[in-house]
Symmetry: C2
Subunit: 312 residues, 2 copies
Amino acid sequence: MKCKKCGSKAVVNMRQHKLALCKEDYLEWVPEQAERFIKKYRMFSHADKILVAVSGGKDSLSLWEILVRLGYQADGLYIGLGIDGGFGYSSESHRLAARFAEERGLTLHIVDVEAEYGESIPVISEISQRGRGKPCAVCGLTKRHVMNRIARDRGYDVLATGHNLDDEAAVLFGNTLRWSGEFLRRQGPVLAEMPGMARKVKPLCRFYEREMTAYALLRGIEYIYEECPFAEGSTSIYYKEVLNKLENNRPGAKLTFYLSFLEARERGLFTEAGEVRQELHPCTNCGQPTTAPGLCSFCRMIDKVHGEIEIP
Amino acid sequence: MKCKKCGSKAVVNMRQHKLALCKEDYLEWVPEQAERFIKKYRMFSHADKILVAVSGGKDSLSLWEILVRLGYQADGLYIGLGIDGGFGYSSESHRLAARFAEERGLTLHIVDVEAEYGESIPVISEISQRGRGKPCAVCGLTKRHVMNRIARDRGYDVLATGHNLDDEAAVLFGNTLRWSGEFLRRQGPVLAEMPGMARKVKPLCRFYEREMTAYALLRGIEYIYEECPFAEGSTSIYYKEVLNKLENNRPGAKLTFYLSFLEARERGLFTEAGEVRQELHPCTNCGQPTTAPGLCSFCRMIDKVHGEIEIP
């Protein structure tokens, strides 16, 4: 297999794009494509201050690397969740995120959930009894809250996450199985903006997971290989398997599924007649928008866990 | 496992409904459910004349049996496709459909494609070069044409087909992967009526394929076990496998996928702003509605195959 650009030996073969590339051309191709997606979906400009949510995994570290490479003003945010799983998941991912920033002279904000909110994610999950024995719902709620807070408090215009195509297609697949109009209308590379909140964007949403793995490896980015120990057996991993079955049979199926969805949404396919938009109010404690009157879900959860603790 | 109704030994266990039944209660339950779906989706009444498209397989023969059992005026239509596959697929299915009708004193219309249009389906497919080496597209086009023609010429109000949940969910899955608004709006238990055409209905659309197999077996209906020899490797069979993977993991997933789709469609989820409805004209030869001016697709195909042959 030869590189389509220079004819030398290819190291990456993307059947879904009918494209094989050598290392050098692949490492150029990925940022070029990312730039194209950033412009196509009007994610941000060079004037915007961007906060990248960094988990220590291949996607978020590569995203940060790519944005800096493309000349964007991108800082990182690492959230310490206090998850061990027998191999120090959180401490190892913290170490890798911090080293990545240090080696490149980048700014990394660090928020440790236990230090700021009194308990780690697994403990908050246990006390609050949300999410049927798994801390994933609590973790998602907490990360969203912290990302919004830091973006707002530190004056970032944009919050960027490393969701790749496999992530997005799996979420879309779940929303489709339930035909949730609300979720179908909302999903996309750019989340509809809300007053007082940073715009949320997903610059990697059109890259296959294996494309990002190849990028991180070829670029020499050191990342945490392990998945979060709580991810095992999750619905989203299961949906990814189903979609991979489709993809193996028809290279490009996953991308077509996601892109034709975006086009259909653009055409207005999911505009429901008589749709009622939920009104948002600022949470009386943290000020972030919420549909409920009074406290938002996050503040109610923390209130339940430690009534006496002051919520930053 | 005990029958939920009478406590005797159950022979059918439907995890998707959390329901196990004995033979007698199952044979009552299926027609009761069918009656419920016929009413819920306003398919037809006892005053309507119904034409059942009968292939000789378990679904269509069971459908016919159920409609007659429920007291509806239902005649059959068998279309001879001229497919052999090394085991006499068409002749065997013809024999079984004819015997079913004869044993019960029912009216069965028979249309033999080769006798009426000059060539069998595989030959028409070869000559007309439609469908990339597979006769499935030609076969579908021909069956639709013949069903519409017989229903119209013989004064039937309704055309009923034996599509089960697995069939419908597979079609829906395919339409979803491409996010075709037009197809998503159109798919359902009752096809939108067109002037001069019988209403098309699918009374079995909420029964799992294995529920219909169990019904045919327990009722002692003799049907053709073999699939059409051309079905092997088809996209729809592949989609059924994917959906079965989902179903095995979560009993009821297939039904939820289909029913929540129907609900979303009812709510108006797929009402596209600026949707353009294609106008229909009667075909200048056969009179059936078509989007093209002049001949419909079927008549154009037959014209190509045998210009000199008169099209009935």
